[in-house]
């Protein structure tokens, strides 16, 4: 239903806390509606001209016909702006303010999505293509300062073959106080072809290969599709008309989940005053649709390039300057390119800008910005982030979630490293397959050289390192064969039966007979066999090393992540009872030497080859970061030191149990402290410390505990095996933040700042955590302090904040004073933040009584103060 929209001035202002959204939305201008079409003569029906503005009173768009006693109703509401015809007590027609009100049924919302409002389909001929602001005026009753249940605003674009839906979730802390109307909105490009939005690229994993099987095996045919086609089954069920766009408000299924930490329902009711869809122009001149770096990560000296897409959304030809800006550090920028560009109305163009980095190109995070300028004025811009570093593990991001929509592109995961689990047929019992395709030892999956090469090559092209998993023992039939031939090489007898062997052999036989051009191989169920190896023997190490070199060369893997130790000997009496010619006291030294030789061989072939492990063979770091426990001297763990010195990444798999009550990192404060201790111990020797995901779930849920887990990992300068969660109060994401500012958290020269509590005085209205994570780095003639600040959780422990209550935000600026280190006399300061955008904001400083003082502009969850002192 198309109704007259109220004048724009009647839209109430958004709350201050919502001002970032207001800023985004008002950065575009609402186009005036198309002029009304001339009245057609009564006898000749003329189609309505396409419109640019649509509005629906909430009470007109219930998701289903209203029923007396149902959860949805039309509620008289003095605060609503929509008018509803009614009758007064005397039966006279009247108009009253009313809204669609949905009572949230607790039983329904734990089971599935609760639709709140659904507009009619606006058919494609009825709407002018372009960028629209989709807005709903809503209010809720329920809990506000928690994650709880969001209100989801979504738009579906429907064409004959498919339907594409985009949505954004708005939480109580986004919307504002309960019982008060506020607008929720996002920008959406109406595109009848559903093709204009730039799709996200996804790093490949050789196991999830259906998208690129045709590339790996030319002539590949999806067997299921082919069978369907042969049987005359249509490719995809057609979507029924009408075709166009449809807007919906809904509440997602919300149920407490102790595994993920997702919260229970927090809403009692939702009222919808109105829904609108209004065309806007993103820019008075040309609009930058996006800029995208080809590579998420590259080494200094490698080539990068950027795609910038520009479009003229206006009705006249426009000429503007397109400028490509690169920025690193705190606002250090360089113009990569500047060119004049003229586009006809509706015309768009994608331009490519190469960038050859040098060996001395500054390392860590970069921002690339495409700006459309009229003179010096930036009219529109888009940006993205990437990393430059010789070592992928140092700047590693395994994934990063986000909450906000970009109308022109699907947001891409900032992942820059992909690890392929179960890469080999027998792990260290057989690294190199003897056939083109093989059954993996560590998992009931298959891999093949064509598929793995298609994975590594594609990932390398988009700047994603591909590392392989390698269990330090042996797996599958390979280790069962080794058990027979070389029993001394095994750390134990396989916990397996001959039937295991037969089933695995049968699976491999079937795989070898499989024709991949006729479809993927359906893996049968096969049992798992794994055994530790006894890494005393030079012949064994030679075999592993030789095969690893050969395998990584043939596949293109750029790193190995070990599992269950590295190359430790584990017994001096063989599994058959023979005394072996080794000394038990030499085990640790021997293990370190094994790794050194292995590393040298791999790096001889590929100097950039990287190593990770879920801890060294003796798990030295498990002695570190436990309150009240003094760790032993790291030098007594030579394999740990050797691995760290090789730049090794230590994956702390045990931290998956942090949500359990008795885990030493169950208290948030302990977890943060522990992360810093372990990170520091690894970093002391050049290594990288990586956290594991709570309960082995690295999805990065938008849940309280995952948010703090992400925040603490970033603040502590660690890396993470899973996806960083999205963050509240942020238009960008922590994944983008750490990509951009890794230098300030992950530089291997950053060291804990001793006595941080004495040196730094934070005059915030409530307690802020900063002392454990504060660090310093000496740069050329300067000393840098990095002071990450966390607004601490309201509950002490992980998984004890069922409602996902967030701490009160600190919205007012507060003073921070930092003692100027000896030998320095002045300084500069910046705030690094993702609240609301990823940015480095220069702060004004004053020096007084040996202190450098700033007025810090508030803290919702996490921000960082960077100070650089100069002589």
């Amino acid at each position: 239903m198309l109704v007259d929209a109220p004048p724009r001035s009647s839209i109430p202002p958004l709350p201050v806390k919502f001002s970032w959204l207001l800023a985004l939305l008002l950065s575009t201008a609402v186009l005036s509606a198309a002029p009304p079409a001339p009245k057609p003569p009564p006898s000749t029906p003329v189609p309505k001209p396409p419109q640019e503005k649509f509005a629906w009173p909430g009470w007109t768009v219930p998701p289903a016909p209203l029923k007396a006693g149902g959860d949805a109703s039309i509620a008289t509401d003095a605060d609503a702006q929509s008018k509803h015809p009614s009758k007064d007590e005397d039966g006279k027609d009247i108009v009253e303010n009313a809204a669609l009100q949905m009572r949230v049924n607790r039983r329904d919302i734990v089971r599935g999505v609760v639709p709140v409002a659904t507009t009619p389909v606006v058919e494609w001929p009825g709407i002018v293509p372009g960028v629209y602001r989709i807005t709903a005026r809503v209010k809720y009753s329920g809990d506000s300062q928690c994650i709880g249940t969001p209100i989801v605003l979504s738009v579906s674009g429907i064409i004959g073959e498919r339907q594409e839906t985009v949505d954004e979730a708005f939480y109580g802390f986004d919307i504002g106080e309960p019982e008060a109307y506020a607008e929720i909105a996002f920008l959406y490009e109406v595109d009848p072809t559903l093709t204009k939005r730039l799709p996200a690229r996804h790093p490949r994993h050789s196991r999830h290969n259906s998208d690129f099987m045709g590339e790996a095996y030319p002539g590949y045919v999806n067997a299921a599709n082919a069978a369907n086609a042969a049987a005359g089954v249509a490719k995809l069920p057609a979507v029924k008309p009408p075709y166009g766009i449809q807007i919906q408000l809904s509440l997602p299924r919300t149920v407490y989940n102790v595994a993920s930490g997702m919260p229970p329902n927090s809403l009692r009711s939702v009222s919808v005053d109105w829904i609108r869809c209004e065309r806007v122009t993103p820019s008075p001149g040309l609009a930058v649709r996006y800029v995208r770096p080809l590579k998420h990560w590259l080494r200094p000296g490698e080539g990068q390039s950027f795609d910038a897409a520009v479009e003229n959304f206006s009705s006249e030809a426009r000429t503007r300057n397109l400028v490509l800006v690169l920025e690193h550090g705190c606002g250090e920028t360089q113009e990569l390119a500047k060119q004049s560009i003229t586009l006809a109305p509706g015309e768009s163009k994608v331009l490519k800008f190469p960038w050859a980095t040098q060996a001395n190109t500054p390392q860590f995070g970069w921002e690339v910005r495409a700006e459309i300028r009229e003179g010096d004025k930036v009219e529109t811009s888009a940006r993205d982030f990437f990393s430059v570093h010789p070592r992928a593990y140092v700047v590693q991001v395994a994934g990063g979630n986000h909450r906000r929509l970009d109308p022109f592109r699907e947001k891409e995961s900032p992942a820059n490293l992909m690890e392929v689990f179960a890469a080999t047929p027998g792990d260290c019992a057989q690294v190199m397959p003897k056939t083109d395709a093989w059954v993996c030892g560590m998992s009931a999956i298959w891999q093949s050289f064509p598929v793995v090469r298609a994975t590594t090559a594609y990932n390398r092209e988009i700047g994603v390192a591909t590392h392989m998993y390698l269990f330090a023992g042996g797996t599958g039939d390979a280790v069962m064969d080794m058990h027979i031939r070389r029993p001394d090489w095994l750390g134990g007898h396989p916990n397996a039966t001959d039937q295991f062997y037969y089933l695995r052999a049968a699976a491999d036989e079937a795989l070898q007979k499989h024709d991949f051009t006729k479809g993927g191989f359906e893996m049968p169920k096969i049992p798992h066999v794994e055994v530790g190896l006894n890494h005393w023997f030079p012949e064994l190490m030679d075999q592993i090393t030789r095969e690893s070199v050969e395998f990584t060369k043939k596949t293109g893997y750029e790193g190995i992540r070990f599992d269950v130790g590295i190359f430790a000997p584990n017994r001096v009496v063989s599994i058959l009872g023979q005394k072996l010619p080794f000394n038990d006291a030499d085990r640790m030294r021997h293990a370190a030497e094994n790794f050194e030789k292995f590393k040298d061989a791999l790096r001889h072939e590929n100097p950039n080859f990287e190593f990770g492990a879920n801890m060294d063979s003796w798990a030295y770091l498990e002695n570190v970061g436990v309150r009240g426990v003094k760790p032993p001297d790291p030098e007594t763990y030579p394999e740990f030191v050797a691995f760290a010195k090789a730049g090794g990444m230590f994956m702390d798999e045990g931290t998956m149990s942090a949500p359990l009550l008795d885990h030493y990192m169950n208290r948030f404060e302990d977890a943060l402290w522990s992360m810093v201790q372990k990170r520091e111990m690894a970093r002391r020797f050049g290594g990288v410390y990586q956290l594991f995901s709570p309960h082995r779930d690295g999805s990065g849920h938008f849940a309280h505990d995952d948010i703090y887990w992400t925040t603490m990992i970033i603040a502590a300068g660690c890396t993470y095996v899973g996806s960083f969660t999205a963050a509240p109060y942020s238009l960008d994401s922590p994944g983008e933040f750490i990509t951009r500012f890794s230098e300030y958290f992950r530089s291997l020269n950053l060291r804990p700042l001793p006595n941080a509590e004495e040196l730094i005085h934070i005059d915030s209205p409530s307690v802020v955590w900063f002392a454990d994570t504060a660090s310093f780095e000496d740069l050329a003639g300067k000393r840098r302090y990095v002071i990450p600040m966390i607004n601490p959780p309201v509950q002490e422990r992980l998984r004890r904040n069922k409602s996902n209550e967030l701490p009160p935000t600190i919205d007012d600026p507060f003073r921070i004073e930092v003692k100027i280190p000896e030998g320095f006399h002045k300084g500069r300061a910046w705030m690094l933040t993702w609240e609301p955008r990823v940015a480095a904001v220069s702060l004004e400083t004053t020096v007084a009584a040996g202190q450098l003082r700033v007025n810090f502009p508030g803290l919702k969850l996490f921000r960082t103060l960077v100070m650089e002192f100069e002589p």
């Binding site: 595994a259 027979i484 031939r485 007898h493 295991f500 037969y502 169920k525 049992p527 599994i575 058959l576």
Partner: protein
């Protein structure tokens, strides 16, 4: 003071009980939207969730008002807790098929005197892990029926597990009861398990695994809150007790053994779950009482203090007669009986009493307690238990200076599971040639199955196993039914100890051997490389242990006229790269005959433990690399090998 608190709490739940009027059961949707069964009595309240294996996800003993499960996050299937979780030892805990499985259920009693719910599921029977690709016939399609019963007015509940086998094959699950609860969030709970070296207590000097248990109970107590929970289970069917995490014990678990479930003969085992209050530890538990026993030294005198609470059977009176057994490090051991202690009735509130030892007894000590229990009907029963008390003993535990030998082993009654007896007329079927092979790992290298299949008319059925008792794995088949067992003319075990058939299986097998069943027993690291087993069936073997030595030697000295060499070309005997250094046991009823040697060691042996009974021993080891031994082909690649093995099996089976 404690009594006042107890009375106050008692009045709270008494008031509640009036409201509800008896035991209560209901199916509800909880705050997370999950379907649960709520069961309540005046003493306790619990919720069971059918969607996760009917695990108890909340348990409150009303006098304490403390939910002892909630802290363990029972709905979290990755490391979460809960009471009464079903598992089988044949599957890795992380990948159990019953974890998170929906159980069908029926409420069978709705109060007011008693509420009861029956849950049921059926095992797929995976070995190793869910969807591993390997199914065990000993687990497959076994129904597990769980009945939870709460009775109004009783401060405990009943948990019955019934195993139902509707298939023709006997089942033998290593059923694993897993309870995970946490009484006190601020301090570790303690766990207490009975063993023949004393109470196995953690945190402390105890071990997670308790194989030397000597009674059928396991207890968890929070010494800080003086609350606890005691599980009483059937001693005869326990394999071992287990508690995860020695410093902060997280679970109370035990694994059942010898639960043989024959077709249409369900077997039920009962667990009494008894919450306790006022105890700081548990030293013994029976159906009549739960006891804390504390020897106290004060002013040079020794007193033995008892604190007893009720168990699930009502009693009228209990008389304890303590005996102090001392001078354990010297000779002779001494024992002195202390004055009797009498307690009238027992309830949830502990009764305390003590007896004083007038003499001089240095630590360590054993306190032996005889309990004479008068039941409400006037009959009297007797129970006896022992507690080892290390006290000031310098080694602090029941161990001598060699750190191996116990100071004194406490009484440990033999377990007595039901073992079926074959009818007198059952005999080995020698009309057909049916063979059952139990193949331990590496048998494949010896090509035994292929060899047996060369016997004309043979029907071979096989069970696979690693060959030694090990978790996360299990036997895939074994003929526990006599009908099936006696249908085999011979049983072949290779690189597999008898113990993997469990005690019940070994006892069944003895009946088969005693009636002339043929046995071929192959060596390997699982068998003779270790020490022999304890079960009487090992007496049917002439060798206890035969360590493995690495030596490339040729087979030699065949007794060429023996039937096993019939048709076997002995011209070019093959080699082996490892040998068993076998020595025969002494005082054997008949002398074993070495039919073939490897170097100087026996390789094939014939043994007749009883007249007419043939046991053939094959000591072949498949290890070593032929590539390292050029010109010395291994015996299993020898062209005559399979013929020889076939002959060996035929001879064991009296063919001819």
């Amino acid at each position: 003071m404690k009594r006042v608190i107890f009375l106050l709490l008692a009045s709270v739940f008494a008031a509640w009980a009036q409201e509800r009027q008896g035991a209560f059961i209901s199916e509800i949707t909880d705050e997370d939207g999950d379907q649960v069964v709520l069961m309540e009595t005046d003493w306790m309240s619990m919720r069971l969730m059918p969607g996760i294996g009917s695990t108890v996800i909340n348990f409150v003993f009303r006098p304490t008002q403390n939910d002892i499960v909630d802290l363990t996050q029972p709905k979290n299937l990755f490391g979460g807790g809960g009471l009464l979780q079903d598992n089988v030892w044949e599957q890795d805990w992380r990948f159990q098929e019953l974890r998170g499985k929906w159980y069908d259920y029926q409420i069978t009693k709705r109060g007011p005197d008693e509420v009861q719910v029956v849950f049921e599921t059926k095992l797929d029977g995976w070995i190793n892990a869910r969807d591993s690709g390997v199914i065990s016939k000993l687990l497959q399609d076994l129904k597990i029926r769980r009945t939870v019963t709460l009775r109004q007015g009783t401060p405990y509940f009943l948990f019955d597990v019934e195993f139902v086998n509707d298939t023709p094959f006997a089942k033998l699950p290593l059923y694993w009861m897993h309870n995970c609860d946490r009484i006190d969030a601020t301090a570790p709970d303690h766990v207490f398990r009975p063993s023949d070296t004393g109470i196995n207590h953690m945190p402390g000097k105890g071990n997670e695994f308790v194989y030397n248990f000597n009674h059928g109970w396991s207890a968890r107590v929070s010494p800080t809150r003086r609350e606890g929970i005691v599980y009483l289970m059937d001693y005869d069917y326990i394999s071992f007790l287990y508690n995860n995490q020695p410093n902060i014990p997280y679970t109370d678990e035990w694994i059942y053994d010898n639960l043989l479930i024959l077709n249409k003969q369900p077997r039920k085992t009962r667990i009494h779950v008894i919450p306790v209050m006022g105890l700081e530890r548990v030293d013994h538990a029976t159906e009549y009482f739960i006891a804390e026993v504390r020897p106290i030294r004060q002013d040079g005198r020794l007193r033995v203090a008892y604190k007893l609470t009720s168990s699930y059977e009502k009693i009228r009176k209990i008389t304890l007669i303590p005996t102090v057994v001392h001078n354990l490090l010297g000779t002779p051991e001494k024992s002195d009986v202390l004055p009797a202690i009498e307690m009238q009735g027992l309830g949830i509130e502990p009764q305390t009493a003590e007896a004083e030892f007038p003499g001089d007894a240095t630590d360590p000590l054993v306190i032996r307690t005889k309990a004479f229990i008068e039941l409400p009907d006037g009959t009297q029963v007797e129970r006896e238990f022992e507690n080892f008390h290390a006290g000031d003993y310098s080694l602090g535990a029941n161990i001598l200076k060699d750190l191996k030998t116990p100071v004194k082993l406490l009484a440990r009654a033999p377990q007595n599971p039901v073992i079926p007896v074959p009818s007198a007329d059952v005999a080995v079927n020698r009309k057909d040639f049916n063979v059952f092979g139990l193949f331990g790992s590496t048998s494949r290298v010896l090509k035994l199955e292929d060899a047996i299949r060369t016997i004309p008319g043979v029907k071979l059925e096989a069970g696979y196993h690693p060959g030694v008792v090990i978790d996360r794995n299990g036997l895939t088949d074994f003929p526990y039914d006599y009908d099936r067992l006696f249908n085999y003319r011979a049983i072949v075990l290779n690189n597999a100890v008898f113990d993997i058939a469990r005690s019940v299986g070994m006892s069944i097998l003895i009946n088969y051997l005693d009636r002339g069943g043929g046995l071929v027993y192959g060596g390997g690291p699982n068998t003779f490389a270790g020490k022999g087993g304890n079960h009487p069936i090992y007496q049917y073997l002439p060798i206890d242990s035969a360590p493995v030595d690495k030596a490339t030697v040729q087979l030699n000295s065949p007794v060429a006229d023996h039937p096993i060499f019939k048709g076997v070309n002995l011209a070019n005997l093959p080699w082996t790269y490892y040998v068993h250094k076998a020595r025969f046991r002494e005082n054997l009823p008949t002398a074993p005959k070495v039919l073939l040697k490897a170097g100087d060691e026996p390789f094939l042996v014939e043994y007749e433990p009883h007249p007419g009974q043939r046991v053939m021993i094959m000591l072949g080891l498949p290890f070593g690399d032929p590539a390292e031994n050029p010109g010395k082909p291994p015996f299993y690649d020898w062209s005559e090998w399979q013929k020889l093995i076939a002959n060996l099996v035929r001879y064991a089976a009296h063919d001819p």
